[in-house]
Structure formats: structure tokens, C-alpha cells
């Protein structure tokens, strides 16, 4: 089992390395001179002096291998280069903003699990009933409406029409917990909408599958109470596929945070990211993309390990 653990960690590290390499090479894969590319906006050719200055600033005039080595060696130390806009270290900016994005993701995932799993289980147990039909319909609707539409409409409804909540913003937790949580509510709901729907569906189909299994028949044949059959034999076995899907969907959710933070003015990573994209601040974009992708890989590794805890058959591999 330790071998399996080590192997999974090694695979994740290898993937992280490949991701970093691709991101590094992306700039060089585009036809044309990288420095010129980053400076040209609106089709106007940039001033050669500025180009040369950028080139030396980013180290683009050095051999590719040197650039790559510098880039890679900087990563474990947390050195992601400096922003082209204000020359501050990228890592600093990310460190400042990352916790707020993580908070949003955490809140969203929590909502999704707390609502999705019980609802999915109940819907599966009473398949075809009213709850099942209503919940499944709601899930389909939630999946269809894009996250930024949900966010915008929430603002329209709660902030404008009903005047129940502010339209966005942020207050540190230490300063005013109640307000902080109030401001967290709408963005968290928005970001949870897709994941909740998916968790609901996955739980429902997984529980339905477990219900039809022979070992559930055995459990009933033993005379176990329905509660025990449900918890110990049905839900316990149904959780694993839900975990897998949770891990995979985190990628979409991480992308969703960009949109939700933008809509609600939540000061996470999306603000510097979007500014950087518009300004072609390549080091900043790279830094954020690497951070979030690394986070994604980490989450999936955790899901993998959790899966092994849940299913002893996996532990053997």
C-alpha cells in the first residue's frame, strides 16, 4: 500500500512537472518573437526599443535551456517571477489572494456535499416520486444556467429587487464575521450550483446501482434494519464514484471561481488574473495558472487517497 501511495504522489509530481513545462513552452510555441507578441496590442507594431527592453527583462535573449532551468528551479522556492505591470513578485500577490479563493471553493464544495449527497440518496430511494422528479428537474436546470448568469441573476434578485443583501464586496473574517459570511453567501451559492447538481446526479445513480447489488440483497436477507442497510451497505459503497466525480469537477469549479469572483467583486485570484490577461502580463498569468493547476492536481491526489481508504480493493494496487 505504501508503494501505491508513493506511486500516486510520484505520478502527481510528474504531471505537475509536465504542466509547468507546457506552460513555459506556450509562449515559445506561438509563431513570432515572444517579446513582440506580448507587446503588440490592437495590431500596432511595438517600438523596437521597448521590445528589446522586455526581452532582456524576461530573459528571453538567453538560451531556451537556461530559461527553462531558471524557471523550473524557481518553482519550488516560490519564485514565479515579477509582474510586468508593477514589478512586484508574482508569488506575493498570489499568496495574498489565494486564501480568499480557497475559502470560496471550500464553501462551495461544502454546500455541494451537504445538499447533494442526501438529496441524491433520497431521490434514489424514492425513485420516480415527487421529490425525485422535482430535484432532478432542478438539477438539470442548475446545470444549464451558466455560473455567471446565476451570479448576475442572484444580484438582480437579492440585491436589487429584494434589497436583502449587498451586491458584492468583502470584509475580512477577523473584522466582522457576520458581514463576512453574509458577503460569502451569494458567491458560494453561485459557485456551488453546478457542483451540487452533479453531486446530486452522481449520488442518485450510484445509490441506485448499489441498491441493485447482490450484497444489498444479502444484507436484507440477514434481517438488518433498513437504516443499517442504507448507511452501511448502500451509501458506503455508493460514495466512491461520487468522490471521483467530485475531484474531476473541481477543475470546472476552479474556472468558475474566476467568473464568480468577477461578478461579486470577491477579492480572490481572478482580479489580478483578468488584469494580467488584458495587459498581457505574462509572468502573472503563468504564476496563477500554475498555482491553480497545482491546486487541482493536489485535490485529485487527495480524492485518490480518499478513494483508497473507502475501497480496500484499490489498496492492493
Amino acid at each position: 500500500m505504501i508503494a501505491g501511495l508513493a506511486r500516486r504522489i510520484a505520478t502527481s509530481l510528474a504531471l505537475a512537472w509536465i504542466v509547468a513545462t507546457i506552460v513555459f513552452l506556450a509562449l515559445h510555441m506561438v509563431p513570432g518573437d515572444p517579446a513582440e507578441l506580448l507587446l503588440s496590442t490592437g495590431g500596432i507594431a511595438p517600438d523596437p526599443a521597448t521590445v528589446a527592453e522586455l526581452r532582456s527583462r524576461l530573459g528571453l535573449d538567453r538560451p531556451l535551456a537556461d530559461q527553462y532551468f531558471d524557471f523550473l528551479s524557481g518553482l519550488p522556492q516560490g519564485d514565479l517571477g515579477n509582474s510586468l505591470v508593477d514589478d512586484y513578485p508574482v508569488a506575493q500577490e498570489i499568496a495574498l489572494r489565494l486564501p480568499r479563493t480557497l475559502e470560496l471553493i471550500g464553501a462551495g464544495a461544502l454546500l455541494a456535499v451537504v445538499f447533494g449527497i442526501p438529496a441524491g440518496t433520497w431521490a434514489a430511494m424514492h425513485r420516480g416520486g415527487t421529490f425525485d422528479r422535482v430535484a432532478s428537474g432542478l438539477a438539470a436546470l442548475l446545470l444549464a444556467v451558466p455560473v455567471f448568469v446565476v451570479g448576475t441573476l442572484l444580484i438582480l434578485l437579492m440585491a436589487q429587487a429584494l434589497r436583502l443583501m449587498p451586491a458584492g464586496g468583502f470584509v475580512p473574517l477577523a473584522q466582522d464575521p457576520v458581514q463576512h459570511l453574509t458577503l460569502l453567501a451569494l458567491p458560494a451559492i453561485a459557485i456551488a450550483k453546478g457542483l451540487t447538481a452533479i453531486v446530486f446526479r452522481m449520488t442518485r445513480s450510484s445509490v441506485l446501482d448499489a441498491l441493485s447489488r447482490d450484497y444489498v440483497r444479502t444484507a436484507r436477507a440477514k434481517g438488518l434494519s433498513p437504516a443499517r442497510v442504507l448507511v452501511h451497505h448502500v451509501v458506503r459503497n455508493a460514495l466512491s464514484p461520487v468522490l471521483t466525480v467530485l475531484g474531476l469537477q473541481m477543475g470546472t469549479m476552479l474556472g468558475g471561481t474566476v467568473l464568480v469572483e468577477y461578478v461579486f467583486n470577491w477579492p480572490g485570484l481572478s482580479t489580478p488574473l483578468l488584469h494580467a490577461v488584458e495587459a498581457r502580463d505574462y509572468p502573472m498569468v503563468v504564476g496563477i495558472v500554475l498555482t491553480v493547476s497545482g491546486l487541482f492536481l493536489l485535490i485529485n491526489l487527495a480524492m485518490d487517497l480518499l478513494y483508497a481508504v473507502l475501497d480496500p480493493r484499490i489498496r492492493a494496487t
Binding site: 504531471l15 509536465i18 504542466v19 455560473v147 450484497y215 440483497r217 434494519s225 451497505h233 474556472g255 503563468v286
Partner: protein, 614 residues
């Protein structure tokens, strides 16, 4: 199919509108008219004007054109390339697999929006960049789906058969594998288009997708957001258009998925409790101290094709220490009978006639809690496939202890000690260690021993064994049969043994019930039945069983399906002794001397060596 029509029509309508946009006589979507900024509905602009005075309706339809154009282009490119990669990877495996499918997995490590933003940083926003990014993002999906389908198709015997016939790889891929992947690829295509629309609109909303003034729903929402307070409707139109289109596409995807992978739709009646049964049972007959007394059990199942009765008018009884074998081939109804006894029928099936007396109580009339107290307690069951009958995520010792604690209050430790004793009793070697084993770590024979231990944990008076050795090797089967016989001698448990093998019946049964097409066709003392069968089916079954002398003779024809049971004798179409009277009317069970039963109108003649019908 109904599930496909409505969303399909909606999606088709949107696509049609988008395609025909230039010819619909719409206002110019990019022409600004600041004087009419945020105007309400007016002639020529049924939905009003946006923040730059442009016609909303026109922009909606032209926006559809842009969004769908980008989405379909990206999905098509991803589809063609991804499918090819998946085919190559799945068929050739090894390095080919590594280069194609596995390398695609790298793309999946990037959250989609972020990868898109990275590319937009480098190449600038615009429809072209979007198509490139979206194609790359959806490549892995196609590659994986195709790869999985190819692998699955390869493992089918019919692909191996064609390979054995000497077909070259190209022919196999083209004729055998490709048609099988068409369905899933189509589903994936619809998924990719829907996802692409979402992603494109999100990026445009951020101002980093389609470049203004080209219309796109995402851009419209972006613009309307600024003027949300003054004209909320302006915001709602593109939101509605976007959401409804995506909803229709998602529903279409679901419908396609169902159409491609048809699962038999389970009938969905509301679950009924056993005690809400129809009246009209047979009057209770005397019960002769039997442990179990089945009288006229009939089970009905509601299927899409109508109501069927896989078990009809089945009766038998079992005394303590006795083994009653129920023998029949597929479609005989023997398993349904066993399941009905335990009250474990699926919701679609219910007993509609008869009684099942366990001691003084009719099981069919008991409510669920009472039945539950009996299950695993006074009556227990051992199933056919021990691998799937044990929960793979719990240790086997725990599963046996669970059975004990469900019926008796005791501490976990005491239950474990008792489980240990049971393991020893059923002959599991090294029992202390095995208590903590996982099911997948045990062999088939050992798992079945665990199942038997579980069943005997609470000393049942009745043990129902549903083909317990069918999935086991012959030598292991012998061990298990020996174990069951030994345990029965020791505890005096009555046993019902269901099997399709006459040899097994001859070895272990005191009495036998032969079932065919849902009915009992013969019943009696096992030795007597085998020595002189009174029903042509029993006789034919004996003749078909290879046993050392002479060639086994098959029975021509097939077992009738429950929807189409013959009105007369159900075996008549295959019976070599059938006469016209056999097919005319349903046949009743006849009781012969010695308490034997047979369902054949010609049994007396046959017992005296009558000729076959000419």
C-alpha cells in the same frame, strides 16, 4: 424516443435561426443608435434596444450564430482528431496508447477557463483563438470515450472471432469496432457543443472571448450588467436565451445517451407492502409439522409488455432435517420462488395468490418488520455468487458479526468470538486471520463458506440455498455439498436446495420438486422420481444429463417465454409424448400413490410404457 424529440426540436430551431440569420430581415446588429439607448419595445425592435441603441432581437439571433458557430467548429475538430487518437491508442496499445490517450490526459490537468485565459493572453481574444482553445480542451474527452469503447469492443468474443477468421486490422476496425463507437461519440459530440457554448459565453462575459462589436450572448450579458438597474429586462433576454439553449442541449445529450445505451426501463409501480395483497387465498390446509409449507404460490411481475407470472401455483413442504431440492432450467421460476419466500422480491413483483406458512405464520401476510425479524434468524438464505453477495468494502468477519447482532443483543467482541466459532465450524482454515480478510482476498469456495456461516449464525430452522455451488469448481462444489450435508445432520435444519443439476439433486436431496415454465411438473421422493419419472420433462431431463452410459439426448425446442406461455400443457410443444388433448386445456397436478405429484394427463400410460405420439 420521446425524450429526444422536444429538446431536439428546440435545439434544431435555435440552429436553424442561427443559420438563417442573414436572411431573416433583421436589423443590423452592430449599428449603434445612441438616441434610442435602452429603449423599450418599439416597432422594428420588438425586444427594445441595448445600451448602445442596437436592436436586441437581432443581436440575440446573430449572437446565437456566433456562439453556435464557435461551438460546433471546436466540437467537430476535437471530435475528428480525438476519435482518431482514441482508435489508434485503443487498438495498438503500448507506446501508441501512451502517445495518444495518455498524453491527452495532461490537458485534463488544466482547469478549462485557465487554459483558455493562458492562450488568450498569448494570442489575443477572438473567435479564432476560442475555436483553437476549445478544440484542445475537448480532445481528451473524445479520445477517452473512443479508447474505452475500443477496449471494450476488443474484449468481446465476436471481435476475437473475426480476428481468428483472419481479418486484417483495418477491416476489423472499420466494420466491427467503428459502428460500436458511433453512439458514444455522438453523445460526446453533443456534450462538447454544450460545454463549448458555456465556456465561450463565460469568456465573452469577461471580455476575453469574442471581440465586440460582434454579438455574443456572453457579451450582451456583460453589457446589460452595467445597466442592470435601469433596464433589468435587457439582462434577462440574453440570460434566458443562453440558459434555455444550454438546457435544451443538455436534455438532448441525456436523451441521446439513453438511446445509445438502452437499459430496459424498469416498471415503476409504487412499492406495495406485502400485507396489502388481494384476498382469495386457498383455504388453509392442515399443516403437518412442517417447517415450511408453501401453498399455491403465484407471483406476478408488471413488465412493459404486460403482466407475467413467472411462478404459478407452486406448493411444497419441508420437514425438519429434510432437504427439498427444486430443480429446473432457466425460465422455470425456481429463483423467483426462493426470493418470494424470503420476501425479497423487487417492487415490480408481488405474490398474488397462495400462502407461505413458516410454522404458524403466513409469511405473505406479515408486515416488513416481522419479516425482517425472521430473515437471517428463523430462516436464512445462501446465494449463488459469493463474490457479488459479499460487500467488498467490509471485512468478512464484520459481515458475519453483523448478522449475529441483527438478531441478538451482544457486544461486538462477543459477536466476533461467535463468528470465529462459525468460521471453524464451516471449515475455514486459519480462522482468526480470515476474520479480518476482505472478500476479494478469498477464493470462491471460502467465500461461500463465509456465506454459509452467515446464514447459520442464528441457527435457522430453514435454510434456503439458491444454486450455492453453481459458480464453483467441481472439487470445491463437492466440499461445499459435503459441508452442507454435515451441518444439516448436526443441526436438523430443513433445507431447500435450488439447482439446475440433476446430479446434485440425486446426491443431496430427500425430495425433489421439478419446475418447468413457472409450474411444478413433478414432485416426490427423490430416489423414486429418478428411478421412475412420471412426467415427460423429468424423463427428458434425466436423459439429457450425461452420466457415463450412452449419449445424452437433448430436448428439441426452447423454454417458452412468460409472455407467451401455452394455454395447455406448457411442455407439450417439446414433448415427444404429446397428443392433441395436451395442448387443449391447462393441466392440473395429479396426485399418485406414495404422495407423488405430476402434471401430465398421460402419466398412467407413460408409467406403463406407452408409445410416443406418432
Amino acid at each position: 424516443m420521446k425524450r429526444l424529440w422536444i429538446p431536439g426540436a428546440l435545439v434544431a430551431a435555435v440552429i436553424l435561426l442561427a443559420l438563417l440569420a442573414p436572411w431573416l430581415g433583421l436589423a443590423d446588429p452592430v449599428k449603434q443608435d445612441i438616441a434610442q439607448r435602452l429603449a423599450g419595445p418599439m416597432p422594428g425592435s420588438p425586444l427594445g434596444r441595448d445600451e448602445f441603441g442596437r436592436d436586441v432581437l437581432s443581436r440575440l439571433i446573430w449572437g446565437a450564430r456566433t456562439s453556435l458557430g464557435v461551438a460546433f467548429a471546436a466540437a467537430a475538430i476535437a471530435g475528428i482528431l480525438g476519435t482518431m487518437l482514441g482508435l489508434v491508442g485503443g487498438w495498438f496499445r503500448g507506446i501508441g496508447e501512451l502517445l495518444t490517450v495518455r498524453s491527452m490526459d495532461i490537458i485534463l490537468c488544466f482547469p478549462p477557463v485557465l487554459l483558455a485565459l493562458l492562450v488568450v493572453t498569448l494570442l489575443g481574444p477572438g473567435a479564432g483563438t476560442l475555436i483553437l482553445v476549445l478544440s484542445v480542451l475537448y480532445l481528451p474527452g473524445f479520445a477517452r470515450v473512443t479508447y474505452a469503447e475500443v477496449l471494450s469492443a476488443r474484449s468481446h468474443d465476436y471481435v476475437e472471432a473475426v480476428r481468428a477468421l483472419g481479418a486484417p486490422t483495418g477491416r476489423i476496425l472499420l466494420r466491427t469496432v467503428l459502428p460500436n463507437i458511433a453512439g458514444p461519440v455522438l453523445v460526446q459530440l453533443s456534450l462538447a457543443v454544450a460545454a463549448a457554448v458555456v465556456l465561450e459565453s463565460g469568456l465573452s462575459f469577461l471580455g476575453l472571448g469574442v471581440v465586440p462589436p460582434a454579438p455574443s450572448w456572453g457579451l450582451m450579458i456583460r453589457g446589460a450588467r452595467a445597466t442592470m438597474e435601469q433596464s433589468p429586462l435587457l439582462l434577462l433576454w440574453p440570460c434566458a436565451a443562453l440558459s434555455l439553449t444550454i438546457l435544451a442541449m443538455n436534455l438532448l445529450c441525456d436523451g441521446l445517451r439513453d438511446a445509445v445505451d438502452p437499459r430496459t426501463p424498469a416498471a415503476r409501480p409504487r412499492p406495495r407492502l406485502i400485507d396489502r395483497m388481494l384476498p382469495g387465498m386457498l383455504p388453509p390446509t392442515e399443516r403437518t409439522g412442517a417447517v415450511l409449507d408453501l401453498q399455491g404460490l403465484t407471483v406476478e411481475i408488471a413488465t412493459p409488455r404486460g403482466r407475467i407470472r413467472p411462478v404459478e401455483d407452486v406448493s411444497f413442504s419441508v420437514r425438519p432435517g429434510e432437504t427439498m431440492a427444486i430443480v429446473g432450467e432457466s425460465g422455470s421460476g425456481k429463483s423467483v420462488t426462493a426470493t418470494a419466500l424470503m420476501g425479497l422480491l423487487p417492487p415490480a413483483a408481488r405474490p398474488v395468490a397462495g400462502a407461505v406458512w413458516l410454522g404458524e405464520r403466513d409469511l405473505l401476510r406479515l408486515d416488513e418488520p416481522a419479516l425482517r425479524a425472521l430473515r437471517g434468524g428463523a430462516m436464512a438464505m445462501v446465494f449463488q455468487d459469493p463474490m457479488s453477495s459479499l460487500n467488498p468494502v467490509h471485512r468478512v468477519g464484520d459481515q458475519v458479526a453483523e448478522a449475529i447482532r441483527a438478531h441478538r443483543t451482544m457486544t461486538a467482541k462477543a459477536a466476533r468470538a461467535e463468528a470465529l466459532g462459525l468460521f471453524r465450524r464451516v471449515g475455514i482454515a486459519d480462522p482468526e486471520r480470515r476474520l479480518d480478510a476482505w472478500p476479494h482476498e478469498l477464493s470462491g469456495g471460502m467465500r461461500q463458506r463465509v456465506m454459509i456461516a452467515m446464514a447459520l449464525a442464528n441457527r435457522p430452522g430453514l435454510l434456503i440455498a439458491d444454486e450455492p455451488t453453481t459458480a464453483l469448481d467441481v472439487t470445491v462444489q463437492a466440499q461445499i455439498l459435503e459441508l452442507l450435508a454435515e451441518l444439516q445432520r448436526e443441526t436438523g435444519t430443513a433445507m431447500i436446495f435450488i439447482t439446475h443439476s440433476l446430479g446434485v439433486v440425486a446426491e443431496i436431496a430427500d425430495r425433489v420438486t421439478v419446475m418447468y415454465a413457472g409450474q411444478v411438473v413433478e414432485q416426490g421422493d427423490a430416489a423414486a422420481v429418478f428411478a421412475a419419472p412420471l412426467h415427460p420433462y423429468t424423463r427428458a431431463l434425466l436423459a439429457a444429463t450425461p452420466d457415463g452410459d450412452g449419449q445424452p439426448a437433448g430436448i428439441p425446442g426452447v423454454v417458452p417465454q412468460p409472455h407467451a406461455f401455452p394455454t395447455g400443457c406448457r411442455f407439450a410443444p417439446r414433448c415427444s409424448h404429446a397428443v392433441a388433448a395436451c395442448e387443449a386445456a391447462p393441466v392440473m397436478l395429479d396426485e399418485t400413490q406414495g404422495g407423488r405429484l405430476t402434471r401430465c394427463i398421460r402419466w398412467t400410460e407413460l408409467a406403463n410404457g406407452a408409445e410416443c405420439a406418432a
